[in-house]
Symmetry: C2
Subunit: 530 residues, 2 copies
Amino acid sequence: MISAHWSNNNLQPLHNSDLFWLDLSLVLMLLLFIYFVDLLPAKNGEEPTMQFLLEVVEILTNYIRKTFDRSTKVLDFHHPHQLLEGMEGFNLELSDQPESLEQILVDCRDSLKYGVRTGHPRFFNQLSTGLDIVGLAGEWLTSTANTNMFTYEIAPVFVLMEQLTLKKMREIIGWPDGEGDGIFSPGGAISNMYSVMIARYKFFPEVKTKGMAAAPRLILFTSELSHYSIKKASAALGFGTENLILLNTDERGRVIPADLEAKVIEAKQKGYVPIYVNATAGTTVYGAFDPINEIADICEKYGMWLHVDGAWGGGLLMSRKHRHKLNGVERANSVTWNPHKMMGVPLQCSAILVRERGILQGCNSMCAGYLFQPDKQYDVTYDTGDKAIQCGRHVDIFKFWLMWKAKGTVGFEQHIDKCLDLSAYLYNKIKHREGFEMVFNGEPQHTNVCFWYIPPSLRGMPDGEERRKRLHKVAPKIKAMMMESGTTMVGYQPQGDKVNFFRMVISNAAATRSDIDFLIEEIERLGHDL
Amino acid sequence: MISAHWSNNNLQPLHNSDLFWLDLSLVLMLLLFIYFVDLLPAKNGEEPTMQFLLEVVEILTNYIRKTFDRSTKVLDFHHPHQLLEGMEGFNLELSDQPESLEQILVDCRDSLKYGVRTGHPRFFNQLSTGLDIVGLAGEWLTSTANTNMFTYEIAPVFVLMEQLTLKKMREIIGWPDGEGDGIFSPGGAISNMYSVMIARYKFFPEVKTKGMAAAPRLILFTSELSHYSIKKASAALGFGTENLILLNTDERGRVIPADLEAKVIEAKQKGYVPIYVNATAGTTVYGAFDPINEIADICEKYGMWLHVDGAWGGGLLMSRKHRHKLNGVERANSVTWNPHKMMGVPLQCSAILVRERGILQGCNSMCAGYLFQPDKQYDVTYDTGDKAIQCGRHVDIFKFWLMWKAKGTVGFEQHIDKCLDLSAYLYNKIKHREGFEMVFNGEPQHTNVCFWYIPPSLRGMPDGEERRKRLHKVAPKIKAMMMESGTTMVGYQPQGDKVNFFRMVISNAAATRSDIDFLIEEIERLGHDL
């Protein structure tokens, strides 16, 4: 079984190297008897280490080649119990004794084999898709450097890259001279949590020391269609989800500003204190952009913090054609922007950007002298640790910085314009197509295209409870067949009173019009007889 | 300048491959004219992609070789302004236009060149040190898979690995049958934050919806020497840092249980409600282990949640010889344990483990139907997203799982025993050595060895303000010289009324007795004339 694995292997030994590369068969035989303890830092560990890493790279490059090959499946689906019971040669259980490095390589290959190819041109399941080669190289380097962002001392290059990149992002947002602050966090939910914490600190700094008891009843506002992280933050930070007021949206999923103002007034009349509004730039399902300028007017009028959750839509700021959808973002007090979504940066890469300098530090610093010594030989204002709610912090900046170098600002713009063009192509193709029904009318604002597929059996049926009930089951059934055939992946969900519908999103640089065509036809093929 | 870079390059072309590898000089010339847009998914992008990635791997493997080579410096120190002004050929600024892939490779090489070799055998600066080759391979694979932990749907293998590994960790903690729950989080600070959130939810679940106003004044307890993340959590979550009571410690830095009980009683007398005690297993500076059993008795008596912060010391549970230092950990309600510290797993890898099943879900779930559809074709109890405060979550498990496979439980045990032996070696070597003074007496509990170096000029001086003032400056001066000469790195800090002292920690698998000898002699060499 293992030999069968190896016979499929493309590995070719290097020749004429100072590493004395061995003949292929010898390498493999050797790895059978080589264990973890033989690798660096072991004495004479250099040769097996290089052999082992080269084998791993061979597995990874094969995987990358196949990822971009449309004749490869997106996934080879197995149920949890199947993987838990163990597939041939692949056993997830951990044991007391070490396995040989040959088995470790088999484990690597199998872990990829039973996973999902999120970089496949036909993977459309998430907001983060695609496999950016330069970003990937950046991640490989980051893991090799294996350091921590919390001080300049141990991450001098990465700390400066973060500072420069955040400044560039603030310039693009439109804050004067790119002034302000920010930090990369482990994802949009944490970035949004930061925004709520900072807003609270701005208006009620005493909460940091005295707790929520020191403040009156504080009210937060967000769209009924916003990301659930705002709700999670309101629970975690001690506001309570009941003090997060949900705002009504129009037919396209955008916050209705008049509803915000009415709810602010209502809260104030009850004696509560509205402090924070989240405007979403690119909602998760509809891809809707809340009207930031109108919301900013209300925030200014009532003295509230304006946060823009651009986790998904922030990337559009890179496009001269599409950035108008975030008009007013420069009036925000803070912005969440995830390069790991629309900009194609590998996970994780999320920034929280703050207009006012010093407030991030003020909110989070604990001045732990044992971690951040003021008497170092360099300018310690570059140490970032005390601004974060984390202590150790993964280096998320390098891959992004490297991609920016490699693509230039224009490269990101082209990527975003292309994805939005593709979604317009999809929209135009299905809006009048038989068997397809749009969830809302008009061209999508983002790459989100929301639609129902109506199987022939439901097409003549009058709208009503029975049709709704049956339609609700269509998307899950098609999705299940899709996953089992492994041909493509797209998400579905219900929303409000709308039964399950497909939400197509495009952030994958590998996707083309032919993949969009494929998706449509695949849905028709799988759903035809439902 | 670039050609000089290349002449040092060890890259050897592959021969006889189905990829048609070109001659070395041709490859390099080609990359000069090849840009990001020529890589996959571009048409005919496979060949330049493989060339580019192979070049990157060449840079990384050279770096790895040098990392373990003691004749290489730990770092090549530059001040922030020097790096910002730009070193020869290395410019951090981002531009609108793309750079060639050749320049990108130079950027990669330079980013490593001006960084810090955290895997170097003489890097002792942090709790996370070393460069584990299998862990590194695991990270490379993780980046290549580039997926997200929030559903089984897109991370089937990784989600199951996380589940199995967390169960194994709970078994090692000693919870019956490994029952309970847990999740990997982006670091110990976030894991500790989870513990406070869950404890609050246990006693006052209504805070989730109504906010802190629904609870009486809640009190948390932790050691005066515990990690600052407990304080950060108390601020962030709305308790307020004043409601975090700091506990007195003995001369070795361990919490005095009687002080806890007295402070609990005092808080209750004031009408406050004590709910949470953090016992640290391995404090940051002293490496002290709080007496968990005695603290657990008090927690049981007064009905408080017991959390054990084993971010640093949790690894000792893998050692039959040292795990007794955490006796009582099985009585904890929750445990933080960072494999990325003492177990040598690459950053980030931190687990929060919870004894009671369901409470993590209860505390954090928002039941966002648009993210976690209940009508999927597989068993959705494997979806982890709604347990987390994050939405997207980086795959931190694979490298750890792979290391466990490769080392076995016994491999981790050997690593930990070896590190503790080394620290005992250091302790025994300096405890009576002229010019060294221990910060506390007795063999260290963890690998932390805390000491002052007393330069000859201070040796005869009587204890007093003048000596303290001068001694306070010794460690920073030695550290600065150390960094500028690049020979080794070790941390220092003041603590309480103690002036700056060195804190040596050993978690690096590459370190040997000769490196410890080197460190001692280097401190003497650099500090002799101060």
